[in-house]
């Protein structure tokens, strides 16, 4: 009895000393995914895997430190080290949050672009059933910008949600068809709206940015060659002005997304549709979507997913020229997986994915099967 009252006195003393709960606390959280994957044959490209087996493509370590400076201001930094990037470490997030009130947050620094349903927790494998998001759909080759965003939460009756607007700039690597360019994407901006009601959720996002690519644009392969040959082809097609549509720098690309979710605790469904619209004709517009369904049975969650992406040609001479490049793709995957919740912070996952490249690089492709296993944890 004496022991208990001493303990409760202690907790009273502690809670009295820190009445604003978590103010001043340094929070350290992290996540770790370790995966292994293997393709049956090397006839198509998916998840960076090959038929020799690999252990690093799905391996990711993230460490986050956050501190509540005072009632309205907090600092958050997240370092992520990815096996797919030879474990080079990057600050995925580094921002200061100012909460104007309970519903309105202003953030400044390095932020994730809220383009996708999974964007906020893209690399925290523990938070979703599959080993990785659908590659056909999650195809924006960069995920963070340096800038500001404003998030307004709302709640009305049974509906609650968030409206987020952001503005910033991306300076870093940009990969297109196997070539890495130095990119400086300016005026990257957009809005995302998400709303939840009971078991249902929905999300919409619109995003756009201005493309600027530095070296090695003039002499490399890929975009530079396409850009160069567009000039010649435009002349051949008797429409020299069409060549201008193949310029890259200063052109705007936009991306829209819509998602619907359902989760009643046992059954869950996620459907997500996305589309790219590029002002420059060097990059092909496309559409991609996925549907996944899962059933929770205690610790076991079997799930299935269909995902697909298809490039689209512009109309007119630009489209005719694009067809000569041999860059277009039309691909899809069916994924079957099982998640096992070992404990409340560790999940084991197994997956088989059939990836079919109907068209790749403008030619007929092949179909491959990817086998993967992963352990995901959060701490």
């Amino acid at each position: 009895m004496k022991k208990i009252s001493a303990l409760s006195l202690l907790t009273v003393a502690i809670s009295a000393a820190a009445p604003a709960a978590q103010a001043g606390d340094l929070n350290i959280n992290g996540f770790l995914s370790v995966g292994a994957s293997m393709l049956d044959k090397n006839d198509a490209e998916i998840a960076g895997a090959d038929n020799q087996g690999g252990f690093k493509q799905d391996t990711i370590l993230g460490l986050q430190v956050s501190k509540q400076v005072n009632d309205s201001t907090s600092l958050t930094g997240q370092l992520v080290s990815r096996g797919s990037d030879n474990y080079s470490t990057e600050a995925a997030w580094a921002f200061v949050t100012y909460s104007a009130n309970d519903e309105l947050d202003l953030r400044m620094g390095r932020l994730r672009i809220p383009a996708f349903y999974y964007s906020d927790f893209l690399e925290v494998g523990y938070t979703y059933n599959s080993i990785r998001p659908a590659e056909e759909v999650y195809r924006i080759p960069f995920s963070s910008i340096d800038g500001v965003d404003l998030a307004q939460r709302f709640s009305s009756g049974d509906i609650d949600g968030t409206v987020q607007v952001y503005y910033g700039r991306y300076q870093g690597d940009f990969e297109s068809n196997g070539t890495v360019y130095e990119a400086d994407f300016r005026n990257v901006t957009g809005i995302s709206v998400s709303a939840n009601m009971g078991n249902f959720g929905s999300r919409l996002s619109y995003n756009q940015g201005e493309l600027n690519l530095g070296s090695p644009a003039p002499t490399g392969t890929g975009l530079a060659v396409a850009q160069g040959s567009a000039n010649g082809l435009a002349f051949l097609y008797g429409d020299s002005s069409a060549a201008e549509d193949f310029n890259i720098s200063g052109q705007t690309s936009s991306f829209i997304e819509a998602a619907l979710t359902y989760d009643d605790g046992t059954y869950s469904v996620l459907a997500e549709w996305t589309a790219f619209d590029h002002e420059t004709s060097v990059l092909l517009d496309d559409q991609a979507w996925m549907v996944s369904a899962a059933m929770r049975m205690g610790e076991f969650t079997p799930h299935v997913r269909y995902s697909t992406q298809k490039d689209e040609f512009d109309s007119g001479v630009e489209g005719d020229i694009q067809k000569q490049f041999g860059l277009e793709a039309d691909e899809s995957s069916i994924t079957l997986g099982l998640r096992y919740d070992y404990d409340s912070s560790t999940a084991l996952k197994f997956e088989v994915q059939n990836h079919d490249e109907k068209t790749i690089g403008g030619a007929d492709g092949d179909s491959v099967t990817l086998y993967s296993a992963a352990v995901d944890l959060v701490f």
Binding site: S15, A16, P19, Q22, Q64, D120, T127, Y128, G265, S344
Partner: protein
């Protein structure tokens, strides 16, 4: 039909009683001016979707330690989520700096002591541990 419904609920009640779910009380300090709160309000506060009590004052939820019987009952009954689902829910918020889960703060006695001393804090304990230092705002 009515009879069927009635017998169903009677069955459910007796089932609930026979599996010996201890009654849990959601509590605030005796000096907190708020009275009864419904399940939706309590759930919103514990999921970080609402940050204030119905009267507008700041609400700070505290959890019981992982593995406590009260916590498991509270999670499944009031929040309607398993421990893994909750971990996933909070992970989605933690790693975006959008929220932090309620702090695990011990068992019934420790939570009661913390709640009693701060009118902004809300917690839950086994109903048998309730005394005059705290006020029950929701029971299940």
């Amino acid at each position: 039909m009515k009879l069927f419904k009635a017998s169903c609920s009677a069955l459910l009640i007796s089932l609930a009683a026979s599996t010996a779910f201890a009654e849990i009380s959601v509590i605030v300090s005796a000096s907190n001016p708020n009275s009864t709160m419904d399940q939706a309000t309590v759930s919103k506060i514990f999921l970080g979707k609402a940050k204030s009590f119905p009267d507008g004052s700041q609400a700070l939820p505290v959890d019981q330690d992982e593995g406590s019987a009260a916590r498991e009952t509270f999670n499944s009954t009031v929040l309607g989520k398993s421990a893994s689902q909750l971990k996933s829910y909070w992970s989605r918020l933690i790693f975006t700096g959008k929220g932090t889960p309620p702090k695990p703060s011990g068992g019934d006695a420790a939570v009661k002591a913390i709640v009693a001393n701060n009118p902004n804090i809300i917690g839950y304990i086994d109903s048998s541990a309730v005394d005059a230092s705290v006020k029950v705002v929701h029971k299940f």
